[in-house]
């Protein structure tokens, strides 16, 4: 892991991972995440970048206790389905929250955090996570 081929793969997604930038169809107005070249709603190829507000609600969640490699140090950690206020539902980690504080419909906001580290000498991946709003 953390080898050059992987770096390119992650680097291509920095915009969506760091900033929660998705797509908006120019013909039907459908917003989606991540951005796709073809609108999943009407099939138009006129899709532009769309900046999500980062605000959303927890639809459902679970606690990961046996994480995949690269995430061991973070266990246990919550992952949740989050409905963004613009519509799309995405899967993301929750942070700055204890498992017993999480609830259905809980309001959350997006933050950019460290998602994964590839060994001592590899790259550090940053990306979106969600937490209870500051105010």
């Amino acid at each position: 892991m953390g080898r050059p081929m992987q770096v390119a793969r992650y680097w291509r997604h920095f915009k969506e991972k760091y900033r929660l930038i998705g797509g908006k169809c120019k013909s039907c107005g459908h917003v989606h995440f991540p951005k796709r070249p073809v609108c999943p709603e009407c099939g138009s190829q006129e899709v532009e970048e769309f900046q999500f507000s980062g605000k959303g609600k927890v639809v459902s969640w679970t606690i990961v206790r046996n994480p995949p490699s690269g995430y061991e140090y973070y266990k246990p950690y919550p992952i949740a389905l989050i409905q963004l206020e613009e519509g799309p539902v995405i899967l993301a980690q929750l942070t700055d929250v204890d498992p017993e504080e999480i609830d259905f419909g809980m309001e959350v906001e997006m933050v950019t955090r460290k998602v994964r580290e590839f060994e001592e000498d590899g790259i550090i991946l940053y990306g979106y996570k969600f937490r209870p709003p500051i105010k």
Partner: protein, 350 residues
Amino acid sequence: MRRLLKPIKDVGIVGYGAYVPMYRIKNEEIGRVWGVNGFPIQEKSVNNLDEDAITIGIEAARNALKRAQIDPREIRALWFGTESKPYAVKPSATVIAEAIGATPDLDAADFEFACKAGTEALQAAIGFVGSGMAKYAMAIGADTAQGRPGDHLEFTASAGGAAYIVGEKSSETVAYFEGSYSYVTDTPDFWRRQHEHYPRHGNRFTGEPAYFHQIISAAKGLMEELGYSPSDFDYAVFHQPNVKFPITAAKILGIPKEKVLPGLLSGIIGNTYSGATLVGISAVLDIAKPGDRILWVSFGSGAGSDAFSLVVQDAIEEKRDLAPKTMDYVNRKKYIDYALYAKHRGKYIM
């Protein structure tokens, strides 16, 4: 010979924002593990497992943008001051610039000068904007500071930071700079060699010849150049490695404690190193009135100080509520014990 640093154009702060992680460890909990009594502060902030100087910088920068209400693509420089760079080689500033949507038409770099790196970046931003080279420049100071387990620095080394967007002085700036002054000497009071995990320090040597000499010289130099006396300032924020040092510095300068306390957060969040005075100033801007004059003096081991005189403007009233306040972060806290603290600080080998 003019010693004051003052650009051709008057510049000010268009937007500012702070960030402090939510976890806290009490000094008595650290003392419990190492058998120590008598503590420099009450408690300090601790980064979450997924936080580092970069993520702290990102949130502070986003808060600064919320207050500035500018297009991030108008920022021509993003300078990041830290001594806890996640990468030894690879700029942190580019990650932050990308995360706030400021790329690619800008200069970006990391600054290092122990705890002074944040204000050092600010001096550069003032020059970049004040010369007319750039419309906006952002300076950030943030750290997840390292202290050797059991060393007295472990009681204070904490995590946090703040960001400032500098622009030409206008009705949009929340405060403007009257001038600044920098004072540096080669004073080896604290250092960390390549590949070492923890810094070393000169114990008592860190006080008189290092902290106090640079802070007092910088503050006096700035006041002399501007023709001000301590009574001209409504607030003063000094670098805060603990609570005692900044209060003693104020006393030496003849500044009453009440003017220091609003920007003195080290007792409850610790020493955020490159972020320390930047977070303190953001707490003052959150409560200051237009017309208030603020004395701002940083300190970095090695050693040196940057001093600024800042005057608060009318725009502060409408802009301060556009992002979370410094105390919103300071008051959002969850206590952890030493075992969890060690996990958050990456001390366990898996």
